[in-house]
């Protein structure tokens, strides 16, 4: 039997303070236990980072890691994950992005980059065939992400791939993102601010080299099998993600009355059809855009010609449409597309940006912020599309009121004495599903290690989108188990280097457990590790628990597994979920039991032993 294939020297550690670099190997045991990407990230942080450190100090560590399927030709095997301590939440973050950069990183011989320290001056990294050069980036500092990428391509070669921060990351906007391939974002929780705090402007990689596979022929056969399954399932049926992008989601969320509107004061938006996937397709779409090896192509290349909002780029995706559209009471698609372009160019998370502006709009309408504080020459209110566009620019530059918006909605609302108006979990703004109308989502937000996010086990699939089957979004019974299973299996998808959009319907079992059947076959053919589905599921559970240990060390307990008072106590005033609040308290106890966590929200010693995580008890 051929030995498993684990690449040598694919871990590159760079100390930006003294510019030393060290290469090391991935161990077979690490790959078996943590798979890759998100798993490598938390394993590194758990072993090396003081969870109580200042996220924007040189003590923080940033891990950029790919998975064993990144760049292999597996469907949607295009992703990498940035793991670090978040300056927005103080918890862990693990922001995920696709495009072409992650594949190029792997082609250049790197599975994992570990960045420590802080450069004295602005620098960028040039990586080619596993070797790195730390180069001065003074000439790039002050440029936005698009300009940075264009400049580096002009200086080095047009085929290189780039991940960079914009002005927002330089200014340590707490929700700055890292952009790759111009418009793809490792978006959430301020990974771009951490990169900026290290004076690291960009990472440029040569797009050469190959990614070895343990059984190349067998791997091709598995890919072929699941491509056939995907095509057969879609035959004769509409493909909403391809036709309309993720903007298609707004139809379902509006239908169930869970479309966050005017800072979560309502669950339906009267202008939803002006900002939905059909409108986007009709008005501004120039073409679909796919990440590496993706048959779906949900990305939207768009162009806006309307005076005052002109621009060209990608998006908006559903989450942006909700955060900057319905949640700000704005039905002007050109304006929110322009605001999206601003965020992509300057490198900011559109969800937190939109929600923070929505929070400011409510604070202003209630008279808690004065017109002079805002400084745009008029009171700020819901529906002000021009303010939306202007405030995104001001935030990236921390200009005037933008300096407060750059701190996110919780700090903004606290500053004005009304923290209850920040709709966040663990300090991070929700994704676009009101937990009062989509009950499982509330549990997912409250227990996600990164705070309000739909990407840590996304109940919208079974509560709204009908995948793999429909479950009443207002029901409670049985959902704690499903959310736990989905969180574990989304961790597997993330660790493998894949995208959930293809995986859930095609590479998982077609039941509510969504066990990683096809992912197991692909990883085994790529690595020769001969993992079972059960081992892979357990790796997902291990990753979730390792992240939880990091949170516990950072000071998070059961108290923080909660939702804002508006969601728990104020019934939705409209739509099909009218009268509902979140039933989170009814979920939590059962969820902790299923997780093997004690009442403080900490994994028990038995659970840690079961997951081979007992070593974590020694702390860090």
């Amino acid at each position: 039997m051929k030995k498993p294939l684990i690449r040598k020297g694919s871990v590159l550690r760079i100390n930006l303070s003294d510019e030393t670099t060290v290469k090391s190997d991935l161990s077979q045991n690490l790959v078996r236990q943590f798979i890759g990407a998100r798993g490598y990230g938390i394993h590194t942080l758990l072993n090396e980072l003081d969870a109580k450190c200042d996220a924007l100090s040189s003590d923080n560590i940033m891990v950029m890691a790919t998975g064993p399927l990144t760049g292999t030709g597996a469907q949607t095997g295009a992703r990498y994950i940035v793991t670090t301590k978040s300056p927005l939440t103080g918890a862990i973050t693990c922001a995920n992005s696709g495009g072409k950069f992650p594949t190029a990183l792997r082609r250049s011989g790197i599975d994992m980059l570990i960045l420590t320290g802080k450069a004295i001056n602005p620098v960028y990294l040039w990586i080619d065939e596993g070797e790195v050069e730390i180069r001065r980036a003074d000439h790039l500092w002050g440029k936005n992400c698009h300009e940075t990428e264009t400049t580096l391509k002009q200086e080095i070669h047009p085929n290189i791939k780039v991940a960079s921060i914009g002005v927002a990351g330089e200014n340590k906007v707490l929700f700055a993102s890292i952009m790759n391939d111009k418009n793809r974002a490792a978006g959430r929780s301020g990974v771009g601010a951490v990169m900026g705090s290290k004076n690291l402007k960009a990472i440029a990689v040569n797009n050469k080299g190959s990614i070895p596979l343990w059984d190349a022929d067998g791997f091709k056969e598995v890919v072929k099998k699941y491509t056939k399954k995907y095509k057969t399932a879609l035959k004769g049926k509409p493909n909403p993600l391809k036709l309309y992008g993720t903007a298609a989601t707004i139809t379902g969320v509006q239908t169930v009355g869970g479309l966050p509107t005017r800072n979560y004061q309502q669950g339906t938006f009267e202008g939803w059809e002006k900002i939905n996937g059909e409108s986007l397709r009709q008005k501004y779409l120039t073409g679909p855009k796919a990440c590496q090896s993706c048959p779906i192509a949900c990305g939207r290349a768009t162009k806006v010609d309307e005076v005052g909002y002109e621009g060209e780029g990608e998006g908006p995706e559903y989450e942006t449409i909700y955060a900057m559209g319905s949640n700000c009471g704005i039905d002007h698609l050109a304006a929110l597309t322009k605001a999206n372009y601003n965020c992509n160019e300057e490198g900011m998370d559109t969800i937190t940006m939109g929600c923070t502006i929505a929070c400011a709009m409510e604070l202003s309408e209630r008279g808690y912020i004065s017109e002079s504080d805002i400084g745009i020459g008029r009171p700020l209110g819901f529906g002000d599309q021009d303010a939306l566009v202007e405030l995104t620019r001001m935030t990236a530059h921390r200009e005037g009121f933008g300096n407060l918006l750059a701190e996110g909605s919780l700090r903004l609302a606290q500053y004005y004495g009304h923290p209850e108006l920040a709709i966040v979990a663990k300090g991070q703004e929700f994704a676009g599903y009101d937990p009062r109308a989509v009950q499982g989502m509330g549990l997912a937000y409250a227990t996600s290690p990164i705070g309000g996010s739909h990407m840590r086990g996304d109940p919208a699939y079974f509560e709204i989108l009908g995948v793999p089957k429909n479950i009443d979004p207002l029901a409670i019974k049985g959902k704690a188990q499903i959310v736990k299973d989905w969180q574990d299996h989304f961790a597997v998808i993330d660790a493998a280097g894949l995208c959930v959009f293809f995986c859930v319907r095609n590479l998982m079992t077609p039941d509510l457990e969504i066990r990683p059947m096809g992912i197991t076959e692909l990883i085994n053919a790529a690595t020769g590790l001969d993992l079972t589905i059960e081992e892979l599921s357990k790796a997902g559970e291990r990753i979730c628990n390792a992240e939880r240990i990091f949170l516990n060390r950072a000071g998070f307990t059961a108290k923080e597994d909660t939702l804002p008072a508006r969601i728990l106590k104020e019934p939705l005033p409209d739509g099909p979920a009218k009268g509902y609040t979140s039933h989170l308290p009814q979920f939590i106890e059962e969820y902790y039991q299923l997780r093997g966590w004690n009442k403080n929200g900490e994994p028990t010693e038995e659970k840690l032993a079961d997951l081979n995580l007992k070593y974590s008890l020694r702390g860090n």
């Binding site: 004769g236 909403p240 903007a247 379902g252 009355g257 059909e278 559903y318 995948v467 429909n470 099909p576």
Partner: protein, 79 residues
């Protein structure tokens, strides 16, 4: 009995031909499956769609009543 029916995300082709793109008159005691038959949605599509009555998720056997609002769209991968 008067109801409204709207298809979205590629399924609007089954409802755009209705008066006002959504109005439908059906017999008393009709079920969702009867409506799907009336607007001629092929059987093979029915297992891969989400159907709602007045914003509440429903099944093809569900009974309809006067003024119900039916919405349906195809299953999709996520947002």
């Amino acid at each position: 009995m008067n109801i409204t029916v709207r298809g979205y995300l590629g399924f609007e082709i089954y409802t755009n031909c209705l008066p006002g793109n959504e109005n439908l008159v059906i017999k008393a005691d009709s079920r969702i499956k009867d409506v799907l038959d009336l607007i001629m949605i092929p059987k093979e599509l029915r297992s891969a769609m989400a159907i709602f009555i007045n914003g509440r998720l429903t099944e093809t056997e569900s009974l309809l009543k006067e003024q119900d609002k039916v919405v349906f769209y195809p299953m999709m991968e996520g947002g």
